[in-house]
């Protein structure tokens, strides 16, 4: 029998998701035996032409990580969609927009101005910006077009499964992959490699009374290892975030940042966390409430750190 054909691709992301696959460690050998990896630019030299050459639906499953921030990302997404039976949004960037989608609080011009002019280390007197096309004697050179708004994978093509995490944790990755290799698959659209309950379910910290009298940032204190961080005034996205990661950040005494994304029934991860957090403000008077609300640093960035592109509003108004 023929081995299932698998592809990995890397769009707008940090590469962490690629590393996550290597977290399989030795397992990657038997993976290699079980499957036939037909495309993996981060690891081996493939040409897009190879991919274009493949038959429609020739690939059994493609794991796509990274958000869609430029025309190349989008082109690859469409290409892989066409060539794959199953397309998996792998990691928080592909699934939720991830850190790159924080660019949606800005726009192309601001970002370019920042990276090609304003940064103190930049020396660019002629104010040269990347051009999509340039005519040179050798011919026309093109580079992908940079988008104003970062999108999730499923905002540009249909996606069959989602794997959250920034990056997805090792054992979840191997679970997921084995699900595809002769394993049972849930109905299309499911989120794989994560729990249906919030992180609090697997968090070992003790919960007593949910009341917030003061917002504390993790660098301002050494939190009590035993107690719920939220109850210590540290904004922990755990309650509004899928579990499955094994609460590794919390074990490191750091609050959850929400990379595993919204819970199955939640309408909007950020809004949900905002609601939960503010509801337990220990304040009743106008002034006290205002004071506590004002003390929450950068609400948008805090509540949508990994999910702005996937959120209800997706980006800020220009």
């Amino acid at each position: 029998m023929t081995k299932p054909k698998i592809a990995f691709n890397w769009a707008s992301s940090c590469g962490g998701c690629e590393i996550a696959i290597f977290e399989l460690g030795a397992k990657i050998i038997d993976l290699a035996n079980k499957v036939d990896i037909v495309f993996w630019p981060a690891v081996m030299d493939y040409k897009y032409s190879d991919l274009e050459a493949m038959p429609e639906k020739g690939i059994d499953v493609s794991f796509f990580n990274g958000a869609i921030q430029n025309s190349e990302n989008e082109h690859l997404a469409q290409l892989l969609r066409a060539k794959s039976k199953l397309l998996v949004a792998f990691g928080s960037c592909a699934y939720l927009g991830g850190i790159p989608s924080l660019a949606n609080t800005s726009n192309r011009d601001q970002i370019f101005a920042n990276s090609y002019i304003e940064t103190s280390t930049t020396e660019n007197p002629e104010k040269i910006f990347p051009q999509i096309k340039v005519q040179k004697d050798e011919g026309e050179l093109t580079i992908p077009e940079f988008y104003n708004t970062v999108k999730t994978l499923d905002q540009v093509v249909d996606v069959d499964y989602y794997v959250p995490g920034c990056p997805p944790v090792g054992e979840q990755v191997s679970k997921v992959i084995s699900q595809f290799v002769g394993g049972e698959l849930p109905p299309i659209g499911a989120v794989l490699g994560a729990s249906e309950k919030s992180l609090c379910h697997e968090c070992k910290r003790v919960r007593t009374d949910k009341k917030i009298t003061k917002i504390v940032r993790s660098y301002q204190t050494i939190p009590d290892h035993q107690k719920c961080l939220l109850e210590q005034g540290i904004i922990c996205m755990g309650p509004a975030t899928r579990g499955g990661c094994g609460s590794i950040c919390l074990d490191a005494n750091m609050p959850c940042r929400g990379c595993y994304g919204p819970l199955p029934k939640a309408i909007d991860q950020g809004a949900k966390m905002l609601s939960a957090l503010s509801s337990i403000f220990d304040a009743d008077s106008e002034e006290d409430i205002q004071r506590l609300a004002d003390s929450v640093p950068d609400p948008l960035g805090t509540f949508y750190r990994f999910g702005l592109a996937h959120s209800l509003l997706r980006r800020t108004k220009q």
Binding site: S71, E145, Y147, G270, S278, F281, A293, L313, Q318
Partner: protein, 143 residues
């Protein structure tokens, strides 16, 4: 002669006070613009910020949350929780670039029909002068 922009406003009214207040405005035949459509909820405390974002994302130009005056909540202090959420939500909406006039929290009691009418009038006018929000296109400015 180009047609004036008619704001679409979603209203969440507490059924114990503001919704009754709106009814009173009706019973006393007060007139106000039809731009706000009300939804009857048990308590302003039922309002999840997600609802506000959803309304704006799906095309509303404004959202009104109306509850009982502080201290008068039928459920003791549901409205206080509403206020807590609203204050933080306001800050986040600022970051999203959504004008404060578009999302309002008002205390309207069952006996304040006139106030309800005034709030709807005021909000409609303010938002009309702000112009449409149409968030759908905002989200689509891809390239």
């Amino acid at each position: 002669m180009e047609k004036t922009f008619e704001p679409k406003i979603v209203g969440f009214l507490c059924k114990w006070c503001s919704y009754a207040g709106a009814d009173l405005a009706g019973t006393s035949r007060m007139k106000y613009p039809p731009n706000l459509n009300a939804m009857r909820v048990n308590c302003s405390g039922r309002i999840d910020p997600s609802f506000v974002l959803r309304a704006l994302a799906s095309g509303a130009d404004g959202v009104l949350i109306a509850g009982c005056h502080p201290g008068d909540c039928h459920y003791t202090n549901g409205n206080v929780k509403t206020l807590r959420r609203f204050r933080l939500l306001q800050r986040m909406l600022d970051q999203f670039g959504i004008e404060r006039e578009r999302v309002r929290l008002e205390w309207i009691s069952a006996s304040e029909g006139e106030r309800y009418a005034r709030v709807v009038r005021g909000m409609t006018e303010e938002i009309r002068s702000l112009g449409p929000l149409n968030w759908k296109t905002t989200m689509e400015v891809a390239a």
